[in-house]
Amino acid sequence: MIPPRFKTGDRVRVMKSYPPGHLRTPYYIRGCEGEVERLCGAFPNPEELAQMRDGLPAQPLYRVRFRQSEVWPDYRGAAADVVEIEIYQHWLEPA
């Protein structure tokens, strides 16, 4: 298992990267900045699993909270609204 780099409350940015293959990082969140809500544990990397490899060492997985108004510039809901997404550590960098 890869040791976790982040803890609850840390500011992080999702990498703006567009590699080919099976990815669990939605397009709309790449490049966005959010806050770590919790560490979920470590799981085999799905990008590797999709290639029939074992996905090890396991990647830490976080729930990251993003402000909707920052994700969608034309967001019309309340300013406090958020979206929370699971992101693997190798997609995150400190913000």
């Binding site: 799981f43 997985l61 909270r65 309340a78 609204d81 929370e84 997404i85 699971e86």
Partner: protein, 203 residues
């Protein structure tokens, strides 16, 4: 389901044909047996939203259990004898300040062990793309108007966790048994697109 005249020949749809071909091939190659498939289908039919409702009603009745449920959903389900293999459950609590709703934008991840087979709308492109972008409009289409003073938290279940909304206990249910409470908990209220039934409403 629409009534079908079983006496009449019905051509298989694309997906029916694909399912039959794959199933027959798996049996022929001895990867699974017909009996195993039948048992699995039976199991799947046995998983209904009543399982989730039991968890919610227990959490409403027992604050210590609710705390454990919010801390570790999987373990708390096991306490009730609900096996949730391959399911890391995160339970999110609705409060007067926060309303939670669940979507999977990438595919259609869903807490099947607690809610059974997902409704078609949950898997639709419409719901998946719009719930994350304009949740208030989508919820209003379900008949749920959330005041702007309440924060909306959309949970996009993109990876290994599965989500269940713990709705707020309806008023006027003081002293109710868990069984009676569970009857108020609807599937949609555990996805976060509606509220539980109110006491006195018809089923």
């Amino acid at each position: 389901m629409a009534k079908r005249d079983l006496g009449k020949y019905q051509p298989l749809s694309y997906f029916q044909l694909m399912e039959a071909s794959l199933r027959e091939l798996l049996v022929e190659k001895r990867i699974v047996t017909e009996a195993q498939i039948a048992a699995e289908v039976e199991d799947m039919r046995g998983r209904t939203p009543e399982r989730g409702a039991r968890v919610v009603a227990h959490a409403w009745s027992d604050t210590a259990y609710k705390k454990r449920l919010l801390e570790n959903g999987t373990r708390a389900c096991e306490e009730l004898g609900l096996e949730v293999p391959a399911l890391k459950l995160v339970v999110v609590e609705n409060t007067p300040q926060v309303h939670n709703a669940i979507v999977c934008t990438l595919c259609s991840c869903y807490p099947r062990m607690l809610l059974g087979i997902p409704p078609d709308w949950y898997k639709s492109r419409n719901y998946r793309s719009r719930m994350v972008r304009e949740p208030r409009t989508v919820l209003a289409e379900f008949g749920l108007k959330i005041p702007r003073s309440v924060q909306i938290r959309v949970h996009d279940s993109t990876a290994d966790m599965r989500y269940l909304v713990l709705p707020m206990r309806p008023e006027g249910t003081e002293g109710w048994s868990e069984e009676r409470l569970a009857a108020l908990v609807t599937r949609d209220s555990m996805i976060g697109v509606s509220l539980p039934k109110r006491p006195g409403t018809r089923p």
